[in-house]
């Protein structure tokens, strides 16, 4: 085995092309590999760049949701009276009989939302004119707060502010009290933009990194003294941006600021702070966000097949785009409409939505959600419900039909009934109780923890965190090691294939091929030879378990 990997290293250094020549594992043996894609897998960490920010998001008429809705409208054109209705119904006058004609609702809905946003922003200008002056004042309480040890002690700060310097969100502390410091941030950004016609990306000062991202009238600032690299912080800010879009849609966001540069975005975002907080907490404990991939709940493949087939059969409803089951931040099953795929970054927003709110546990819910990678211009409607009493297994049905609630509610009842009947729900619960798997199960001595991402499926697997990584500090330190390893391997311009790093407390091995990414953490005394031997053994173990750890087949409606 050892010779194999050394050969691989040689290959890597000899050949210029990085197209899988260095993979010593034959393609069909890559653990968790599948050509049957379920998630969008082509978006890698290196592609994330400031250049991409200038690519404006496709305007609404071309959006995925719109094309789905148009398709629906076309179907109904065969009914002439419907067409007539479409002509006559104005946005403000909708009578009771409209209940039947769901086809027109989506269009009128958009108009209405537009009208409302205008209304909202007008209210805003009248009521907030007095507040607008605040950024120019420096009050004593502001500076006191920023200098408080509690605020300074935080390892990572994330801020969102508007182009005019208005505070929108701060990870720690009340953004109201951060008006001054946010003003400074905005001044820095606009100074570089105005005087140098350039973009401020990051500042490194001592052990602090300041990372800036300006996008759609919003400025995102991340400040860290943790192990994250600027590129990794940039990814985190991108997630924050996506979260804003998920709540408001890109079209609404741009419209608001087009009308009023001074708009206080906290108003439409009120009640959504928990999504930002939770997303940031998730980033510190969930490697899936860093790896832009998701973790699946370990489940026998035949049980998983039953789950996805049940959904596919009983949720065969037109306009339903995605149906998924998630449990404790892990994916159980996804069924999708033909030709449409879910992006892992969107999936993380869905996981965050469920993870952050207790309110779904009370009753079946019907809520709009925008998935920026799917279509940033519009909302999908999500039917959210839990399938079990303990509220652990959550079913989401995402539709473009705003009127579909009752239909989907019936689907949910049928799915739930079948999953109980086939014992699938019990199997999911058992798997949740078993706590994923222990590193011991891989029976590789001195391997303490690992992350394995299958690139073709955008899914990853990793064992439970066990001793010594069972305290908060140690978990954080382990995460820092992964950040370091990930960064060293992915640094643009000189991406590595294999990295062996001996640290004070651990030895790290990172290995990236076209098929997978592996980050392994060993005890400190492991030699290069035995580490290489161990990862080969690990890959064989993952291969053996792949049916349980990954979703390898994709089911469509």
């Amino acid at each position: 085995m050892a010779t194999e990997i050394r050969e691989a290293e040689q290959n890597a250094s000899v050949s210029d092309s990085d197209s899988g020549q260095s993979d010593f594992i034959e393609t069909n043996e890559i653990p968790g590999k599948s050509s049957n894609t379920l998630l969008v897998a082509n978006d890698s960490f290196e592609d994330l760049s400031y250049a991409e920010l200038n690519n404006t998001i496709v305007a609404s008429p071309m959006g995925t949701i719109n094309s789905l809705v148009k398709k629906k409208a076309k179907r109904s054109l065969s009914l002439p009276e419907r067409e007539h209705v479409e002509d006559t119904v104005s946005e403000s006058e909708v009578d009771d009989s409209e209940v039947e004609t769901s086809e027109i609702c989506d269009d009128s809905q958009v108009d209405m939302i537009e009208a409302r946003v205008t209304e909202l922003s007008l209210q805003e200008t009248t009521s907030q004119t007095a507040d607008a002056q605040i950024p120019h004042l420096m009050t004593n309480t502001d500076t006191d707060y920023v200098n408080s040890p509690e605020w300074k002690r935080q390892k990572k700060h994330i801020f969102i502010l508007s182009e005019s310097g208005k505070p929108i969100y701060s990870r720690h502390g009340n953004e109201d009290k951060l008006v001054t410091i946010m003003g400074v941030m905005q001044a820095l950004v606009s100074f570089v933009a105005d005087s140098n016609k350039d973009t401020l990306r990051s500042i490194v000062a001592g052990d602090h990194k300041f990372v800036f991202m300006t996008r759609d009238h919003l400025t995102f600032v991340g400040v860290t003294r943790g192990k994250e690299s600027t590129q990794q912080m940039f990814l985190q800010l991108t997630y924050m941006y996506n979260q804003v879009i998920s709540i408001l849609t890109h079209s609404t966001l741009t419209r608001i600021f087009k009308q009023h540069r001074n708009y206080d975005l906290r108003r439409p975002l009120s009640g959504a702070e928990k999504f930002f907080d939770n997303l940031l907490n998730l980033m510190d404990v969930e490697p899936g966000l860093l790896l832009t991939s998701v973790r699946c709940l370990p489940l026998d493949s035949n049980v998983r097949d039953i789950v996805s087939q049940t959904i596919a059969q009983h949720a065969k409803v037109k306009d339903l785009v995605f149906a998924l089951i998630i449990a404790q931040n892990q994916l159980v099953a996804v069924v999708r409409m033909k030709k449409y795929y879910l992006h892992p970054m969107d999936l993380h927003l869905i996981l965050n939505l469920i993870n952050a709110s207790e309110s779904f546990k009370a009753a079946e819910s019907w809520t709009p959600i925008c998935l920026p990678k799917f279509d940033a211009a519009g909302f999908l409607q999500a039917h959210v419900s839990y399938l079990d009493e303990e509220c652990q297994t959550c079913l989401l049905l995402l539709s473009v039909d705003i009127e579909a609630f009752y239909t989907l509610s019936e689907c949910k009842a049928k799915i739930q009934e079948r999953l109980i009947k086939y014992n699938a729900l019990a199997a999911i619960n058992n798997s949740l109780k078993r706590n994923s798997y222990s590193i011991q199960q891989c029976s590789i001595s001195d391997l303490r923890h690992f992350l394995y991402k299958s690139r073709s499926t955008a899914q990853y697997t990793s064992p439970e965190l066990e001793a010594p990584y069972n305290t908060k500090e140690e978990k954080e330190r382990l995460f820092g090691l992964y950040y370091y390893l990930h960064d060293r391997i992915h640094t643009s311009g000189r991406t590595l294939k294999i990295l062996f790093h001996v640290g004070a407390y651990e030895t790290l091995l990172g290995w990236v091929t076209t098929g997978f990414e592996l980050y392994a953490v060993f005890g400190p005394l492991v030699t290069k030879m035995s580490a290489i031997h161990a990862v080969n053994k690990l890959l064989r173990w993952i291969k053996k378990e792949e049916d349980r750890l990954f979703i390898l087949s994709s089911v469509t409606f």
């Binding site: 909202l120 009120s270 009640g271 207790e358 309110s359 009370a362 079946e364 999500a382 509610s409």
Partner: protein, 205 residues
């Protein structure tokens, strides 16, 4: 959105933190979690249903508990469209929530004329303990209710005060309007149906 099995669609509207979700919790599950569970704002809207028996008739009430956050305002119409009754909630201890109630009443009058409005002041237990905390007078609320030909209730989800009363009233009003409507229709229509002949030949029976 009008449900298949639901007889009356009821929608709850009002400012965030007015207590809409607690009201539904009390009505459907007869529990109050406000003291043990921290406040959770509703995301989008939640749906629940309960069957009540009024005048020996079973009526299924479908309740839409909407989110109070402003950003959902734009799409709230999909939640109240076709609603037979709206419970417009305001917090008895929060004056601004009463202004918000006026806003929702305006919306309903503009877009949903067929919807009967029930005004509901929440958190009565708080002002019962300390009358000084009341910021919305019963007189103002009553006047607003009269304006919309509706009624005003002061409820407490914590104690359960008057919660059932609202929903029973909604069911009673619904049945009354249904029979009234039916009678109206009956009055205009002359029935031309022939009385079926009984006792035809045996083979046809």
């Amino acid at each position: 959105m009008s449900g298949g099995k639901v007889d009356i669609k009821v929608v709850l509207l009002g400012k965030a933190y007015a207590g809409k979700t607690s009201l539904v919790e009390r009505y459907i599950h007869n529990r109050f979690l406000g003291e043990t569970v921290p406040y959770q704002n509703t995301i989008g809207a939640a749906f629940g249903a309960k069957t009540v028996t009024v005048n020996n008739q079973n009526v299924v009430i479908g309740i839409w508990d909407t989110a109070g956050s402003e950003r959902y305002e734009a799409m709230s119409r999909i939640y109240y469209r076709g609603a037979k009754a709206a419970i417009v909630c305001y917090d008895l201890t929060d004056k601004s929530s009463f202004d918000r109630a006026r806003f929702w009443i305006g919306e309903l009058q503009k877009y949903e004329q067929g919807c009967q409005i029930y005004l509901c002041g929440t958190k009565f237990d708080i002002i019962e303990d300390n009358p000084d905390l009341r910021t919305v007078s019963e007189r103002d609320a009553h006047a607003l209710a009269l304006d919309v030909r509706g009624e005003n209730y002061e409820t407490s989800s914590k104690t359960g005060k008057d919660i059932d009363k609202i929903f029973t009233k909604i069911a009673v009003d619904y049945l009354a309007s249904k029979t009234a409507h039916k009678n109206e229709v009956d009055a205009d229509i002359v029935e031309l149906r022939k009385h079926p002949k009984k006792h035809l030949c045996q083979g046809c029976s």
